[in-house]
């Protein structure tokens, strides 16, 4: 955003962003296209794109004069500026092969459909999410992606249950089309695993794959992982694995992707291509861009195109996830209960212990569960299985009414709790549902090789 002074000066001369202007300051002349200023730049500095393609910032001081330039800009510079300013996405269209199996794509935003944005100075969503496919032409050899939908666009850190619900409905609609063989959801990576967990619970009677994917590197760069992720996701969407899963790079080379169960997968690094790892489980499969699939986990529903998907997306949003840690205050939970919160996931330490000496959490847990507010425990360590029988402190947590959730991921537990509480209010029924595996979210066995897979 430019300062009011600059905006006024531009208005006075009838100059707009994208115009070719001449800036004269202290006898020096600068000529180029007027670009917007980013939030992280100085509002009192004018950004020009020079003919050599570089942007520079010139401070607008007293004595600086602006005018429309009388010379013409070179073609490539014009094209580049138009692209940068979002004036033209590409007018190219990708041509699909009608004979290929159909996979629907539902795009809801994220780095995978992003480009540079001037207002924030960072990266934001493309005008046409499908533009990302223009760089992945191999996809036409694999699938006919004739249905591409954008029910909404949002960066995933700002998502909530209403987005999951909308997404579930769109997925079900596509899945129930006889012609569609699978669905790909493109999504921001920050909360990808929350969405995959939600879809795992909301979509009942799944007979086709739902593949959630994204990219860690923005789609506007040549090294983006978007391409390979989309290709491998297409293969996953056409596979026999009728589950909700996340498909992202398996290592930092462009080798293969991992297709992991939506309730047992988590983003484990801020930025690496292979940030998404299966937790406490093997991935369903390793998938290569050429279509090779190496199964790692046969515990999945097999494809059945005749199954009709039902949406059960009821959700109680007034729940919270808290962590116990040295010095943590159980008063936080009590405060939230006073605010009307109906259930809690506590990320407990070790095998399922909470602080029990100074600032003990036990009384607060007891009061909560005693008054109909369920408290469930998930592993703060991310990996591993809870067992409150081993330590007396763990037993104390059990006695206070907390319920450990085995090897369930905390984020998955949070999503599941919201879903369960929308179905029943009785403590016993809540507990039973939480401990029942609806989409593989609790495993009876821990396989040793799954740690840090």
């Amino acid at each position: 955003m430019y300062s009011r002074k600059i905006q006024a000066a531009l208005r006075k001369k009838g100059l707009n962003i994208g115009d070719r202007i001449l800036l004269t300051k202290r006898g020096k002349k600068f000529e180029g296209l007027l670009m917007p200023q980013t939030k992280s730049g100085d509002a009192g500095t004018i950004v020009l794109k020079l003919d050599n393609g570089y942007n520079i910032g010139i401070e607008f001081e007293r004595g600086t004069s602006l005018s429309r330039s009388r010379t013409k800009e070179p073609e490539p510079e014009k094209r580049e500026a138009a692209y940068e300013l979002g004036k033209k996405g590409s007018t190219d269209e990708i041509k699909f092969d009608q004979k290929k199996p159909i996979v629907s794509m539902i795009s809801v935003g994220g780095t995978i459909t992003s480009k540079v944005d001037y207002k924030s100075g960072g990266v934001t969503t493309l005008n046409r999410p499908t533009d990302v496919l223009l760089n992945v032409s191999e996809i036409t050899d694999i699938t006919n992606m004739k249905n591409i939908l954008t029910p909404f666009t949002i960066m995933s850190e700002s998502m909530n249950h209403t987005h999951w619900q909308s997404l579930a409905r769109e997925c079900a609609r596509e899945l129930n089309k006889r012609s569609v063989d699978g669905v790909i959801v493109t999504h921001g990576t920050d909360t990808l695993h929350f969405t995959s967990a939600a879809l795992s619970f909301f979509l009942k009677n799944l007979g086709k794959p739902v593949v959630v994917t994204g990219s860690q590197r923005s789609a506007d760069r040549g090294s983006s992982d978007a391409g390979m992720n989309l290709i491998c996701s297409s293969h996953a969407a056409l596979s026999d694995i009728a589950e909700v899963g996340i498909c992202m790079h398996g290592n930092i080379s462009d080798d293969y992707c991992l297709f992991s169960r939506g309730t047992h997968v988590r983003k484990m690094d801020t930025q690496r291509r292979d940030a998404f790892r299966p937790i406490n489980e093997y991935p369903f499969a390793k998938i290569w861009p050429d279509g090779k699939i190496s199964m790692k986990n046969d515990n999945h529903n097999k494809r059945d195109n005749k199954k009709v998907v039902e949406v059960d997306a009821k959700f109680e949003p007034k729940i919270a996830m808290l962590q116990t840690y040295p010095g943590s205050d159980p008063g936080v939970m009590e405060h939230l209960i006073k605010q009307g919160y109906k259930g809690f996931i506590l990320q407990a330490t070790g095998l399922g212990q909470v602080p029990s000496k100074t600032k003990s959490w036990l009384p607060a847990i007891k009061r909560a569960t005693g008054s109909g507010v369920p408290v469930f425990l998930a592993a703060q360590t991310i990996y591993g299985r809870l067992n409150c029988n081993v330590y007396s402190e763990g037993r104390a947590a059990l006695d206070a009414g907390a319920v450990p959730l085995g090897d369930m991921l905390a984020e998955t537990a949070y999503v599941k709790l919201g879903w369960v509480l929308a179905h029943t209010k009785t403590m016993n029924r809540i507990r039973d549902m939480m401990l029942t595996s609806y989409s593989g979210e609790i495993n009876p066995r821990t396989l040793v090789g799954s740690f840090l897979y």
């Binding site: 100085d42 950004v47 570089y54 510079e77 580049e80 940068e84 190219d92 960072g122």
Partner: protein, 472 residues
């Protein structure tokens, strides 16, 4: 050849590696000390829509479709940033200062806000598919023997990964070089004669070396030429290794373009490779302008007046000016002056020359520095002790040797400083000895005289005087 009539237009583009501690956008070492890579990462790149016209895109796709790039990772010189697994860190301030110095030395205008851009590069030499580059100076100029030459840009950018091996389907790159800071200097195409190209390259090289912050050695500086003649076309000639070859390359390229025109064909816009013979070979067609868009992972960099003042005050003296000064002020000859400058010891030399004899300072810096490694501070102390005594060569050498072995100046000068006797004294003593010892051999006289003066005079001088006296 009448280059003017031929309408020769030539511009230079010079890329120089900077000698900073860290790389431009991360904290990896920029010193090239790792010997072996520790592992390898394989990647594919994709052409990005919106970048070029439709035809270019199709060609790009084809080129990249089956190409798998192999990147070698080095322990101290590669991190997640080079692997495109982490956003860039804030720009290296040390490198920025050097680039600003260069921009100032070349009389450029420096924008108040510097924007780092991404320049699309899809040959695999940048893991992210682009090179980060920023314009630091523009509209500069440089004085030459043929007039004022425009400096179109001084840019600060990352060096690319280096090719280790190229096969048909893949390229193996080393990630140690990726990210090393480079300064790029571009001139306007106002060079109109082959010899002038060499002069410009030499002068720009001198300006760069004046900062004392540029890397030296093979591959640390790359020189490219842009050449065209009237009715011809601009061709870019990459990788000129020896400056002395520049005029020849220009001549041969002009001839080549002339020959194409004369045969009735059109000169194509080429990128050509400079060969050691002075000829060039076709590499590829000159691409359209590469895509440049903002590097939004780093905010724009404010260049305040305060920063500029600080840099202006600390601008290095140009090597050319240093040379002039040493020759004029200290009456040194050009070679000796260059030796001192090249050794980076100008400041030290001037300090020593102030304390004691210029000759002694010259000898200590040029000759003795190779034999005896004595820290600068100790030399200054020594010269402060010597003051205006004439120290004979052998004594000086012996003192320097002791200092290089760790002795302090105090210890070395404890027994007092051997003061050389004047030539007058040597002559009168020689006369006396010749008088009272007739008929001895030259060697015997030398022995007597050396014994008499015991280190207070050097053998050479004594021998010279003795010879003169014997001759009568």
């Amino acid at each position: 050849m009448d280059y003017k009539r031929l309408g020769l237009k030539c511009g230079l583009e010079i890329h120089q590696q900077l000698d900073t501690k860290h790389k431009l956008f991360c904290n990896c070492s920029a010193r090239f000390e790792d010997k072996e890579p520790v592992f390898e990462v394989k990647r594919k790149l994709r052409a990005v829509a919106g970048e070029m016209g439709k035809v270019d895109i199709a060609a790009r796709h084809e080129f990249l479709k089956d190409r798998m790039f192999r990147y070698k990772v080095y322990k101290n010189e590669t991190c997640s940033v080079e692997l495109d697994e982490e956003p860039p860190h804030p720009i290296n301030r040390e490198a920025l200062e050097i680039a600003l110095q260069v921009a100032m030395l070349l009389n450029c205008e420096i924008p108040e806000e510097i924007h780092v851009m991404r320049k699309t590069v899809l040959d695999g030499s940048n893991t992210s598919g682009f090179q980060r580059t920023a314009l630091v100076g523009l509209n500069g100029w440089m004085k030459t023997s043929f007039g004022k030459l425009g400096i179109t840009n001084v840019s600060l950018e990352e060096d690319a990964a280096q090719i280790i091996k190229k096969t048909k389907k893949s390229v193996i790159y080393g990630l140690n070089r990726l990210g090393i800071p480079l300064v790029e200097i571009g001139t306007s195409p106002d060079i109109h004669a082959p010899e002038d190209a060499k002069e410009v390259a030499e002068k720009i090289g001198m300006v760069l070396r004046s900062t004392e912050k540029v890397k030296r050695g093979i591959g640390t500086i790359r020189q490219d030429l842009n050449i065209s003649i009237a009715k011809g076309a601009r061709c870019e000639i990459k990788g000129v290794q020896k400056l002395t070859l520049l005029p020849k390359i220009v001549e041969i390229e002009v001839q080549r373009q002339k020959a194409v025109i004369n045969s009735g064909r059109k000169v194509t816009h080429d990128v050509r490779k400079a060969l050691l013979s002075g000829r060039t070979e076709f590499l590829r067609p000159l691409p359209g302008a590469a895509r440049m868009y903002p590097e939004t992972d780093t905010p724009p960099i404010a260049i305040t007046d305060r920063m500029l003042e600080k840099i202006r005050k600390s601008l290095p003296e140009l090597i050319l000016d240093k040379q002039d000064r040493l020759v004029k002020k200290y009456k040194l000859n050009k070679e000796v002056a260059n030796q001192i400058i090249k050794a980076g010891k100008t400041e030290l030399f001037e300090k020593l020359a102030k304390l004691s004899y210029i000759n002694t300072a010259v000898n200590v810096i040029t000759r003795y520095s190779k034999q005896f490694r004595v820290p600068d501070q100790k030399l200054i102390e020594l010269f402060s002790a010597i003051k205006d005594r004439r120290i004979p060569k052998e004594s000086l050498e012996s003192m320097l040797e002791k200092l290089s072995k760790g002795k302090s100046v105090k210890e070395v000068t404890a027994k007092g400083l051997p003061e050389a006797v004047s030539e007058e004294e040597i002559r009168s003593e020689t006369k006396a000895i010749l008088e009272s010892n007739k008929g001895l051999t030259f060697g015997a006289y030398m022995g007597l005289l050396m014994n008499k003066f015991k280190g207070k005079a050097d053998g050479k001088t004594i021998a010279k005087v003795l010879k003169e006296e014997l001759r009568g």
